[in-house]
């Protein structure tokens, strides 16, 4: 889910560069590709090489942001 949030953040800046996604997610490149493939299979992103969130992905992100907001309001900050 955090990866999808990073992708969403990067997509706001324009073209998504995988190296920047990898740096921000702090995940080895080979594992990042596996995660991206999983996200593609789940129809959360459009393309693995230059991932952009799909409509379904954006909806999921919105719901996940609500979860994060709820945890924040409850004083729960996970590291």
């Amino acid at each position: 889910m955090d990866l999808l949030l990073i992708i969403k953040g990067e997509s706001r800046k324009g073209k998504i560069v995988l190296t920047r996604v990898q740096q921000k997610s702090n995940v080895p490149f080979d594992r990042l590709k596996i995660y991206l493939s999983e996200l593609k299979d789940l129809d959360m992103i459009q393309d693995e090489t230059s991932p952009t969130p799909t409509e379904k992905g954006l909806q999921y992100i919105t719901e996940y942001e609500k979860v994060l907001d709820f945890m924040k309001r409850m004083g729960l900050i996970y590291r």
Binding site: Y64, E65, V67, L68, F70, G75, Y78
Partner: protein, 225 residues
């Protein structure tokens, strides 16, 4: 008449806790991450304790009342333990460790439940202390845990102060204060302390309902990444 009012107050608390659990289980249902189970489990146990308290006020058989009251004590304490463990691990350990610990806690909880059943419902094996005496210790224990959770939530708020993050510490503080009021009732049997404890508890549950509603149902544009 007094009993009817108290049963009503316990029922209201139980319904509010059930609604809270419905809200709070959503993060777990969405992500499948067990770290999100602590809150709903904690409030579920608290809700069950309110149901047991209501039943103990409703039933007339003293033997049943005694056993149900004991169950209520344990369920309430479990609720606070789950909440304290959730807050403790949210700030300290990586996800994997907290998941394992949560499983251990659930297993231990189950084990203690079985032991409790054996002690209460099978022929006497162990000497059980009087309910009133145990009630005082349990209330004190729950109050300490509530204070811990309040301080942890308050620390999160202090790290990044926002008006919306002050409500949860307030809710936990009220929950702890209701335990204090129950403790006073345990010591001096005053009706005002007992009724006050119920009112404060309902106020705290209302605070949590408001927080949950605002985050999960209302104003999606306020969501934070």
């Amino acid at each position: 008449m007094n009993n009817l009012v108290l049963i009503l107050l316990e029922s209201i608390s139980a319904v509010m806790a059930a609604v809270l659990v419905r809200f709070m289980i959503k993060p777990y249902r969405m992500t499948g991450e067990s770290r999100y189970l602590g809150l709903p489990l904690g409030f579920a146990f608290l809700g069950i304790s309110y149901i047991f308290m209501g039943v103990s006020l409703f039933v007339e058989d003293p033997l049943v009342v005694d056993r149900v009251k004991w169950l209520q004590l344990f369920m309430g304490a479990y609720g606070f333990v789950f909440l304290a463990v959730t807050y403790y691990f949210s700030a300290r350990t990586p996800q994997r460790g907290s998941r394992i610990f949560m499983h251990v806690i659930v297993s231990l909880a189950f084990l203690v439940l079985v032991l409790l059943f054996i002690i209460l419902f099978l022929p006497p094996v162990f000497a059980v202390p009087g309910y009133r005496e145990a009630d005082e210790y349990f209330r004190l224990f729950s109050m300490i845990l509530a204070v811990y959770v309040t301080l942890t939530a308050l620390r999160s708020h202090a790290l990044k102060p926002e008006p919306k993050t002050i409500l949860a510490p307030l809710g936990y503080a009220l929950l702890g204060f209701s335990q204090y009021s129950f403790l006073i009732w345990s010591l001096d049997s005053s009706f005002s302390a007992f009724a006050g404890a119920h009112v404060i508890r309902i106020a705290s549950l209302l605070v949590f309902l408001f927080v949950s509603y605002k985050a999960i149902i209302a104003t999606p544009q306020e969501a934070v990444v």
